[in-house]
Amino acid sequence: MSLRDMSLPSRLLPSRALEQARQGDREPLARLAIAVLVLALLCVMAVSLSSGALSISLTAGFQGLLDGTQADPAALRDRIVMMDVRLPRVVLGALVGASLAVSGAVMQGLFRNPLADPGIVGVSAGAGLGAAAMIVLGGTFLAPVVQLAGIYALPLAAFLGGLATTFALYRIGTRGGMTSVATMLLAGIALGALAGAITGLLVYVADDQQLRDLTFWGLGSLAGATWEKVLTAGPIIAVVLLGVPFLANGLNALFLGEAAAGHLGIRVQRLKTIAIVAVAAATGASVAVSGGIGFVGIVVPHLLRLTIGPDHRYLLPACALLGASMLILADTVSRIMVAPAELPIGILTALAGAPFFLWILLRRKGLVQA
């Protein structure tokens, strides 16, 4: 792949960053991209807040916030829609989108393969099994956990499910420090199917209300976003997002393989453990509040690697920003496309993401050779 393929069209960029990218140094380009992505995220957030079945201008919405005492019923209604419906939804979308994209990037760095994604290799299915177990058995068998963990019981169960799957995947796919991609993908399919089957068993024994909860949750949607959900998943995702930049240098060293990373002074085993726990936590928290939203974790890191290169010091923050923007955008589209009804966002991301995934496969045929 030539460098020309890796960079954006020149007229979109200040010439200096592009010139340095031509010299093999994509850092200025990456910093520029991050700045652009911050602006893009703010724009997408503004658009999402103001559009929907009820059209509210941003200024009016926030004016309503400031002088919330006024009794004008229209303003009051706008304020409620803005504060209790749209804002938590945008915040949750940003958190989940960032978490999915960053989890994908970290996992791909860890497995040294651009096809590793929590959704594809069964981690999301494992997290889903944990969440389903909590929904179905939370009233009976797992009641003590619910009592103890409260609103965190669901993300905790999803986290444990995701952690168990990631760990099993790593143990199966990696022998003697080498990760076999074929083994990993096949093991991921098997683990995903196993988790799906057990989830199916749980569905079978679930009562009507639980069934409703399961179906609603499993479609993958940001609908029903509440401040409570934001508070449930938010802290976990925030800790992961703030923590992963510390893994960047280690993940960069892993470009060269585990042995070479060790010679560069990286504690590889510790890095792998932290990365696995971080991916499982972020995936678990996301799955717990939004169900299975696929392909964000594979599309976003891949697009960014093509543009700014694979350096994790820039890739990880850029993934968080673009993942957040893309999910909020997808959610906004899913809300207004069939308004006043809405499409589950998971359908939308899969519609766009699956062909993209196939495109990656076609473009780089060598990837899945073990």
Binding site: M1, S2, L3, M6, R22, Q23, G24, D25, R26, E27, G109, R112, N113, P114, N249, N252, A253, L254, F255, L256, G257, A259, A260, G262, H263, L264, G265, I266, R267, R305, G309, P310, D311, R313
Partner: protein, 273 residues
């Protein structure tokens, strides 16, 4: 150079087993900073395994001490600026440019600041890859990739002997994919590193280049050290024939009395004489 911190690499009774099969049996030797030690031997004699054990990639019994300190007592972070390792083969997980690969050798945290830029260009110049910085690593030939990796490794331990503390290069077949010009260039780089006080331990297959450049030759056979010493003591008809289980004839260049081997076909054209 005090007695407490000898500037040597000291290997004591080192043994390695891989999944229960012993590969290296009790090897001991010393290599001093400022000298180039070359490990030679037939395929499967345990050369690379020995090097991997010394650099901590494989579990071993016995002892490895660098500059007077057992390496297992040194943290990875503290070891990295002291010694760099060139693997036999490196495949990249993601498409990087040559500059980005070399930069991985510069201490973590340093970004592409001006001095890092300069260091990357200097390293590339040293391995005869000037102007290759923006190229995609995966588009290079095997020999060019090998030299990029060497440039990266050089960046990791750039100064051979800062403040009198020698740094070490461990090179596993550094010239296996190179043409003869670049074989000599890379051996010159290694020899230059030792002349400035650093230590180099390399696994090589080419006995002639070994004879030309090595200060110490270590001959491995069946996981044991068959012989060690200077090229003239070790590269002899008897020892080389024994090491490789093949009758070999060593000659000597008149200038400097450097031994060399001219391989001869065991069947065919030379039987006419």
């Amino acid at each position: 150079m005090s007695a407490a911190t000898p500037n040597i690499l000291e290997i004591g009774n080192l043994a390695v087993s891989i999944s229960g099969t012993p590969i290296v049996h009790g090897v001991s030797f010393k290599a001093s900073a400022g000298s180039l030690s070359v490990i030679v031997g037939p395929n499967g004699s345990g050369k690379s395994t020995l090097l991997k054990a010394i650099t901590g990639e494989l579990n071993y019994s016995g002892s490895v001490a660098l500059n007077g300190t057992r390496v297992e007592n040194v943290s990875p972070e503290a070891l990295a600026p002291l010694r760099a390792v060139l693997p036999q083969h490196t495949s990249l997980a993601f498409p990087l440019t040559v500059a980005e690969v070399v930069r991985l050798g510069i201490r973590r945290g340093i970004s592409m600041a001006d001095n890092a830029h300069r260091r990357v260009s200097e390293a590339l110049e040293r391995v005869d890859l000037t102007g290759f910085a923006p190229r995609a690593y995966q588009s290079l030939s095997g020999g060019e990739q090998q030299r990029v990796q060497l440039a990266r490794v050089l960046c990791q331990v750039w100064e051979p002997c800062p403040h009198g503390i020698p740094r070490w290069l461990f090179l596993d077949e550094p010239i296996s994919s190179l043409d003869i010009k670049h074989q000599i260039l890379i051996m010159d780089v290694a020899a230059g590193y030792t002349r400035q006080g650093g230590g180099v331990v390399a696994v090589l297959h080419d006995l002639n280049l070994t004879a030309l450049y090595a200060d110490q030759v270590l001959v491995m056979k069946s996981g044991r050290l068959l012989a060690r010493g200077g090229p003239r003591e070790v590269i002899t008809d008897k020892l080389v024939s024994e090491a490789f289980d093949h009758p070999l004839k060593v000659s000597a260049l008149p200038a400097g009395n450097v031994p060399f081997l001219l391989p001869q076909a065991s069947v065919g054209f030379h039987s006419a004489g």
